[in-house]
Symmetry: C2
Subunit: 523 residues, 2 copies
């Protein structure tokens, strides 16, 4: 069998070496060597679409009916109601009803089809929208899980670890936001440490705080220290996750943060967050109708605040078990929702966000992998532009898993290669290889094979493809155990990207000052 | 949270109950109760296609170039060469070169677009082709694996067990063929026991022996005892797997079996079996070219033997690790091959076969699940008509796993629901539910939810969607451990479908006679 050297450069290639039992070191080294500068995936295969034009029109019609007849509540946020009143919507307390087509027109009139989110390393600035796919890690879990310590509350150290691992993962283009909740820091102060970690330990683009308008302001203040006032005034450097309080409601916390980001021309992802059957109807088409209505109202509101402010059509949908009420993931109905939501977003002409490696499993076992693979594949084929939760999710988002992160990041590498499609160049067609080898022989030593082996076929750092006997000799490790060795080695080998010490000092000073201005609070 | 009764009837629904730790019994009961009579999946969503018309035409042109310039070897099988000579192909020893378009014309002229494979239970007869998907278990492994005994050589008892489990799995429509190799029976006699098991322990359709022409004849003799001479003379009751000896070669064993089945109007799946990089070029387009050339030559040969004999365009492609030579599964390049092969088969107008839950993992861990889910999803979206290896595969096909089987069968149920697409009926649109609930409430008690909960959302018998605390109380089991309880309970609860005792006696008598006619042989 051929033995081939490592390639090093191309993302998702050349990162497999040695025997599994002692491979952690070699693999991690290669993974860290492969901190390349891919900033998005250029999609070269079609989107997968499950709804025909008639179904799409029906859902769009029904969403307008929801907006017109039922309306959306904008709670405890008078300025939103005033915006809507001026725009010509009908107000009934906090309930806003929209003339048919109003929200869509507002979005179509000024929301950008795509936008650049700048990173502090310009080579890592990314573009959200169009035929591009940007992958980001998990968001929100209060717990972490690893094979050594099991499940426990996340700390700031865990937060930093996941920022570092994401920095080193070639398949993740974006540092994400609340990669886990640093529960050891008071709620009203932890956003400062989170934003600082995204600035200090990585140079990939990141997300801002949304748990209070003041925290959104702090995020922007820190971004100004990093990028400079002038730069931020003109450019988008922060993207933030604005969940609807489904069904059909936006609350003051989310509206407060969204308004501040929009006023500053920073990007918001308007995400109906649905456990279908509980927070949306128990059918796919009904859920899609609600997603579209909520996303339209939220994105239109952003355009009222500041026409042209970047928005992303978000979608997060799980299905509730009708037996226990528990959320379920990786099931066919939520895949259909995802495919449909991608279609609705493209028809509207705005970037689309979905979840990636979603699962209900408590540990990085086969359940975790089936559910996550189903969601990752679906999300990729659905044409997602910004895939949140690509790596690390366990337990319906309650835990961020270290081993799960490594395994999902491996899948992220593969998604990049899948979306690149088929190379139809002369070399790709390989007719000469077929001519050279002919019937009954093999291609291992063929000239075409030798010329292409370095870039041919993805090599997973996690998978064990050896014989059963070799695998036994290597310790009979399961995939999670191999991943355990990889993340530890990666963290050992992590090197921080350079940050201007003056900026660093200013940031540390800002955080110190802000922290001193408040008592600790857990809300 | 709502508590809902079990539905029982609909495949893939209502089979989740109780707590995981003691759920094996309840789950298995429900799974066995759900031995429904679904005989295929009616596809209502589009195929996913990665190649545009230009790429398809180029690959088709190149495949004709391969057939014309390089040709295919038909080894040690003079009658095949005579068929080709009469048809006007150019012979050079055992190498056959085909005028451009010849093989395609032969296939297009007489190969059926779809065909019925009859089962002994007419309600289980299935149709292969068109917008239908038929799922069958793994094929070929000499080993089995379970959590209790680990990996060991397969026995006839294992073979029977997998036939029984497949019979009880609502998502599998077909009993398959060599679900594992019963290594405790001599090679030259085990086909008799295998075919008998597929007749006795299930009433789903099955596959015939291909390891020797005499064994194909034995398969047909037993099928005649089961179905009657007259029936078989007119109908297709056996489908068989004919692998090409890639690259570009068919050997006498496969040609011998294929010829006998074709002469008797029984179905053959012509499957290029490729480890890309070793048995085909190291690129996707080159591999697709070879697959098309081999499939065309094989299917055209069948049409020469008997015009109109049912054939299936097969495709089995793994990618070889360029480092170790080991086959790898669930990778993006093989997904692209699969999507492309489906397109090529549809353009030719013949049914398409692929592999399903393929993986290189040795145990039912996260690697097994990621790789299998990737392959199952791809295969389903690619538009496969007959999915072999849907359930059970481990270790690159060297082992059939009991727990893996249960987990894959769960995925098979989900594929059925995915391919059904989105219900756009008035009930599916659920506007009344949205009207009833409105902003800020929940749908759990809504009239629409109550009217639909029994059929809404897939419930996995394997997944644990409970809270972390509940899962701990239930024993902190991983998915494989839960699956372990399920297959054991299923085998306990298995009940054989009725077989006419006269037929059974005749089959047993036939097997006894045939076994007495030969010395035991291990080839």
């Amino acid at each position: 069998m051929t033995s081939v050297p490592q390639s090093g450069r191309d993302p998702g290639r050349g990162r497999r070496a040695g025997r599994p039992a002692r491979a952690g070191r070699a693999r991690a080294r290669q993974q860290s060597a492969a901190v390349d500068l891919a900033t998005w995936i250029d999609r070269r295969i079609p989107h997968f679409e499950v709804l025909d034009a008639e179904a799409l029109e029906l859902i769009e019609y029904n969403a307008e009916t929801v907006l017109q007849e039922i309306g959306i509540e904008f709670r405890d946020f008078p300025s939103a109601l005033e915006h809507w009143k001026s725009a010509g919507a009908e107000l009934d307390g906090e309930r806003v009803r929209f003339p048919r087509g109003m929200c869509r027109s507002l979005v179509e009139a000024s929301a950008p089809k795509e936008f650049t989110q700048h990173a502090r390393n310009p080579q890592r600035s990314t573009i959200i929208g169009g035929e591009r796919t940007v992958l980001a890690p998990g968001y929100g879990p209060p717990f972490v899980h690893d094979l050594d310590q099991g499940r426990r509350y996340a700390t700031l150290e865990d937060f930093r670890n996941f920022v570092k691992l994401t920095f080193m993962a070639p398949g993740l283009h974006h540092s994400g936001g609340t990669v886990c909740e640093p529960v050891d820091v008071p709620v009203n102060k932890r956003h400062l440490d989170m934003v600082y970690s995204h600035i200090k330990y990585t140079d990939k683009p990141f997300m801002g705080s949304v748990t209070h308008p003041d925290r959104a302001e702090d995020t922007l203040a820190m971004a100004r220290l990093l990028f400079g006032e002038d730069f931020i005034a003109k450019k988008t450097v922060v993207m933030s996750l604005i969940n609807a309080n489904s069904p059909l409601t936006f609350d003051s916390t989310m509206l407060g943060a969204a308004t501040i980001y929009a006023e500053n021309n920073q990007a918001t992802i308007i995400s109906p967050f649905l456990l279908a059957g509980a927070m949306s109807p128990v059918t796919v088409a009904g859920t899609l109708t609600q997603i579209l209505a909520e996303a339209l109202a939220g994105m239109a509101y952003i355009q009222l605040v500041r026409p042209g402010a970047p928005v992303v059509f978000g979608s997060f949908a799980a299905a509730v078990s009708m037996q226990s009420g528990a959320p379920t993931f990786g099931t066919p109905e939520t895949s259909l929702v995802l495919y449909g939501a991608g279609q609705l977003a493209r028809r509207l002409g705005v970037p689309f966000r979905s979840g990636g490696g979603l699962c209900a499993a408590k540990i990085p076992d086969a359940q975790a992998a089936y559910e996550s693979a189903n969601t990752l594949q679906t999300s990729a084929l659905a044409g997602v532009n910004f895939m949140l939760h690509t790596a690390g999710w366990l337990e319906g988002g309650l835990a961020m898993g270290y081993e799960k992160f490594i395994m999902d990041a491996d899948q992220a590498n593969m998604i990049a290669l899948l979306l690149k499609g088929v190379d139809m160049s002369e070399n790709g067609q390989a007719l000469d290889a077929l001519r050279e080898v002919g019937p009954g022989s093999h291609f291992l030593g063929a000239a075409h094979t030798l010329a292409n082996f370095e870039s041919a076929f993805y090599r997973s750092p996690v998978a064990d493809n050896n014989s059963f006997e070799q695998w036994q000799q290597d310790g009979s490790l399961d995939a999670a155990r191999r991943a355990n060795g990889i993340w530890k080695q990666m963290l050992q080998e992590y090197e921080a990207p350079r940050l201007d010490p003056t900026i660093d000092e200013a940031l540390v000073e800002f955080i110190k000052r802000r922290k001193s201005e408040f008592e600790d609070r857990d809300y």
